[in-house]
């Protein structure tokens, strides 16, 4: 049994805006019977470029129906320029979260929206996410995978499967998905970073410690505390098992500093305060 939020259940049991729009200005069709879910989104756009109405038809599970219902609620009344910024995370957040295994339902919503807008603008929907098909079972292209990895900061093949279904069939493409993840990660590292204000830098350092560093240290019974950030000088204290650990020096230089340089700024220098 999936752990569906109350909001998701409400949108499944009482879906909003079900149906077709005759003479719709834009129609987006994604998914198929074979994939296990499909969504057709209809848009009515007025002369001021406002999404006047949106309706949908879904073949799929509870979260697929709820995601489509949520999407229509999110875009009706919005200027197209704003509606097209809706991401799959926005849909998931609107529904107060989706189970990880069901994130692909929110991605399907975003894809249908893009297809419908492309159709409205007279573009061919295929131009949009053209690329090389990586997952034959579910027809997912490399460009789609790259995009979902980037936008959702995915780091494992399993996550990519949850978000796109790619790799969830025969599994023959899992190595290729890993390559794409690595590629996106490498590109993200190479991207020149905008200079950060001191406050932004502290916030980012805290985030990286929480996400990338602390879990590993805690797994060994240790912990880390951020004491101060002064320019590029980052002062931390090791706690718990780490404080007494003989290889603490290696942990700091080889792991903590490396992670902070990777995710925040290559110029950072780490210092440790003793208790």
């Amino acid at each position: 049994m999936w752990d569906y939020s109350e909001k998701l259940k409400d949108h499944f049991y009482n879906p909003r805006n079900v149906g077709k729009i005759e003479n719709a200005d834009g129609v987006g069709e994604v998914g198929s019977l074979a994939c296990g879910d499909a969504l057709t989104l209809y848009l009515k756009v007025n002369k001021d470029g406002i999404v006047e109405d949106a309706k949908f038809q879904t073949f799929g599970c509870g979260s697929a129906i709820a995601s489509a219902s949520a999407l229509t609620e999110m875009i009706i009344g919005k200027p197209l320029a704003e509606a097209e910024k809706v991401t799959n995370q926005d849909i998931a957040e609107f529904l107060e979260g989706l189970p990880r295994e069901k994130m692909h339902c929110s991605v399907m919503g975003r894809e249908a929206l893009e297809a419908a807008i492309a159709n409205y603008r007279g573009e061919k929907p295929t131009e949009h996410d053209a690329g090389e098909v990586v997952c034959m079972c579910f027809g997912v292209t490399d460009n789609e995978i790259r995009r979902v990895v980037r936008e959702n900061r995915l780091t494992t093949v399993e996550e990519v499967t949850n978000f796109t279904k790619a790799g969830g069939g025969c599994g023959g493409c899992r190595d290729r998905i890993q390559e794409l993840i690595n590629e996106v990660a490498a590109a993200a590292r190479a991207e020149p970073r905008k200079p950060l204000t001191n406050l932004q830098k502290i916030k980012l350092i805290e985030e990286v410690i929480d996400r990338e560093i602390r879990p590993s240290l805690q797994a060994d019974g240790g912990d880390i505390e951020l004491i101060d950030v002064d320019g590029n000088r980052v002062v931390v204290a090791l706690r718990g098992a780490c404080a007494k650990c003989l290889s603490a020096e290696f942990t700091l230089a080889g792991f903590v500093e490396a992670k902070l340089r990777e995710f925040v700024d290559p110029a950072l220098v780490l210092e440790e305060v003793q208790r």
Partner: protein, 389 residues
């Protein structure tokens, strides 16, 4: 409102008589059956009595019954034992529609140097006997074929397969967890070497299973340790649960004739009613060569998880072969092996009954399903304009 529980192939209610029989072993009679004092040692008699009841249900002798923790353990023990006593042989024959307890184990063995042949089924779910026969080779160590399929209820001619294996000196195991207690099984009249059963499929609790190993069949234990189960399955006897499964088998034997007929009539009423009242629906699985309690029906244009959620809201419990409910993104391997068309597969809904199923349960389901399917068809983009709802 009590739920209409139509998911008995997943698990069953513990019979009140079973629970009553078990309770003393959690309270005053907590001893260890292997103890030298009578406080514990006396429990060995209760274990022996339970063993007799389990044996009686399948026409075995008590010393052919090994108690295990579940059906999966029974299956794993049987297949691994067969490989252990046939170290020179590297081939396993099974079917494409086995439960993961067998299927995943065979796949795992396949990654470790064993050759695995999965025999196919036809569009009604019947086993391809010619394919099975041609798969048997001098290198085949074990054949493992289920007695009844959990998703469709389709029965396989395991007694005939057992004969074929015996003629060729191949060990034969059957996963009979769905069959035991629902249809007559008699090991005296069969050549089956090993048979798995599971307590919670026949109104005993979860956490107890048994493996029948025919007298004289070479065997190696999976669990090594103490002398319990005559050295065939180490680990302190789970007395309360053993007593429970014994009672459950006794009840199954006593009620099978009468309840089998009643349950089959209910199942047929449910199946016939749904196929009649819901347009573009179809049964998955052979009509007669089937367990009396199971029906699997596909409803075109809609998806199974959505059906289950709407049924659940009305207090009706069923299960589905859809990709969305499996957690694996792939629809049921059983229905895929049968070549069930995609639009009937994603919506395949299994209703499985028990002797506790009532007329009211069936009435409620017959009333709810057409409405639920109609509602989902109104949402579906695949419903053709003008199709009957």
């Amino acid at each position: 409102m009590t739920p209409a529980y139509l998911d008995n192939n997943a698990t069953t209610a513990v019979a009140p008589e079973v629970l009553d029989a078990m309770l003393p072993f959690f309270k005053e009679r907590y001893g260890n059956a292997s103890s030298m004092h009578s406080f514990g040692g006396d429990c060995a008699q209760d274990v022996a009595a339970a063993r007799e009841k389990v044996a009686a249900l399948i026409g075995a002798s008590p010393d052919e019954i090994i108690f295990t923790s579940c059906g999966t353990e029974s299956d794993g023990t049987a297949i691994r034992a067969a490989l252990q006593v046939n170290l020179g042989k590297r081939h396993i024959v099974t079917s494409r529609v086995e439960h993961p307890a067998v299927r995943a184990l065979c796949a795992w063995l396949g990654e470790r140097g064993y050759r695995v042949t999965e025999v196919g089924v036809d569009s009604e779910g019947l086993l391809d006997m010619a394919e099975l026969e041609s798969a048997l080779t001098p290198d085949t160590a074990v054949v493992s074929i289920m007695w009844a399929n959990n998703e469709t209820g389709v029965l396989f001619p395991v007694e005939r397969i057992a004969e074929m294996c015996r003629e060729r000196g191949i060990l034969f195991h059957t996963d009979a967890v769905q069959a035991v207690g629902k249809i007559p099984i008699d090991m005296r009249k069969s050549a089956v070497d090993m048979l798995s059963l599971s307590g919670h499929k026949l109104h005993a609790p979860k956490g107890i299973g048994a493996l029948f190993v025919r007298k004289g069949t070479p065997f190696e234990p999976l669990m090594i340790g103490g002398h319990q189960e005559r050295g065939r399955r180490a680990g302190t006897e789970n007395i309360a649960f053993i007593v429970g499964v014994g009672k459950a088998c006794e009840l199954a034997a006593a009620t099978m004739d009468k309840e089998g007929t009643r349950v089959k009539a209910l199942r047929d009423r449910l199946e016939g009613g749904l196929l009649k009242t819901v347009p573009e629906s179809r049964r998955n699985g052979h009509k007669t060569q089937r367990l009396p309690n199971t029906t699997n029906i596909g409803f075109r244009y809609v998806e199974g998880e959505a059906i289950l959620l709407l049924l659940d809201r009305e207090g009706i419990c069923a299960s589905s072969g859809s990709a969305c409910t499996s957690g694996s993104l792939q629809p049921s391997h059983v229905l895929s092996a049968m070549g069930v068309p995609m639009d009937y597969k994603q919506s395949a809904t299994r209703f499985s009954l028990s002797r506790y199923t009532t007329d009211t349960d069936i009435d409620r389901t017959l009333k709810a399903m057409p409405r639920i399917v109609k509602r989902l068809r109104q949402i579906s983009p695949f419903t053709p304009a003008g199709a009957a709802p």
